[in-house]
Amino acid sequence: MLTAVLEETGEELIESCRRGDPEAFRALFEMYKDRVYSVALRYSGDATLAQDIAQETFVKLFSTIGSFRGDSRFESWLYRLVVNSCFDHKRRTHRLMPLFDGLRSVLRTPSASALDEMLRNETSVQLKSVIASLPPDQRMVIVLRYTQGLSYDEIAEIMGCSAGTVGSRLNRVHKLLETRLARLAGTKGTHHA
């Protein structure tokens, strides 16, 4: 049954969810769970918090899907729910952790020299600290851009601002990261030359 539901197109699935079909809810969850969870995790930096955010998002989605009129794309509507849940959690908890889980294990490669590893770690620490210190809207823009690969227009639609605002927020973050990491990049370049 679930396989059959999974084969439905997005629109049919949404229609089935509106009718209250539990299998359709499950199929919709399977379709979007990774995207929702990824945004939540990259924004909050904490697996437990990310699960709470994802849970809240899907519960809200299932209870309000009847009000989805199709004026915007379903994905945009869903992303807006995730973004709002992330912001609500930030307001409630005030204890967001640094962004990246298991960062050291990702960066660590068997062939890396001790200096390479040190530089990589230093880069990740700097990156982590800059992103963790960003205000919520800037952090969300960077997560939607790099975790989901969304365009400026798509991010603008989700965040309820102009594409120009998205561009300037990203630019600000890039400049900040560039300044903080410039020294390390120089060292890295010299080392690899």
């Binding site: 769970k33 990774d34 929702v36 697996a47 699960q51 849970q55 989901q148 990261l177 560039e178 890295k188």
Partner: protein
């Protein structure tokens, strides 16, 4: 923005897979019975009722003490004032 920074961001913010337990968590939350939490309401209702009762009782007590002001016997309400009780012809208004 330098390429290395773009690459670092893409790598560090890469998407992840949702944990298998997530659906269970969501399903439990969806089917959890809606519980009425009367705690706050129950604490505040008697307190509020007590305050309203005290204010009402106080107002009633004050109202009981207030006696209507009787017109003073010393004030004469005669028509003896020529400013008010005279016509333009000098005749007094009866």
């Amino acid at each position: 923005m330098p390429d290395y920074l773009e690459r670092e961001l893409e790598r560090h913010l890469a998407p992840v897979r949702a944990p298998e337990t997530l659906w269970k968590k969501i399903d439990q939350k969806r089917h959890a019975p809606v519980t009425w939490n009367p705690g706050r309401r129950l604490i505040f209702s008697p307190a509020l009722a007590l305050i309203v009762l005290t204010v009402a009782a106080g107002a009633a007590w004050r109202a009981r003490d207030i006696t209507p002001v009787a017109p003073s016997a010393s004030v004469k309400t005669t028509d003896s004032c020529p400013m008010c009780h005279a016509t333009s012809s000098g005749q007094r208004i009866p």
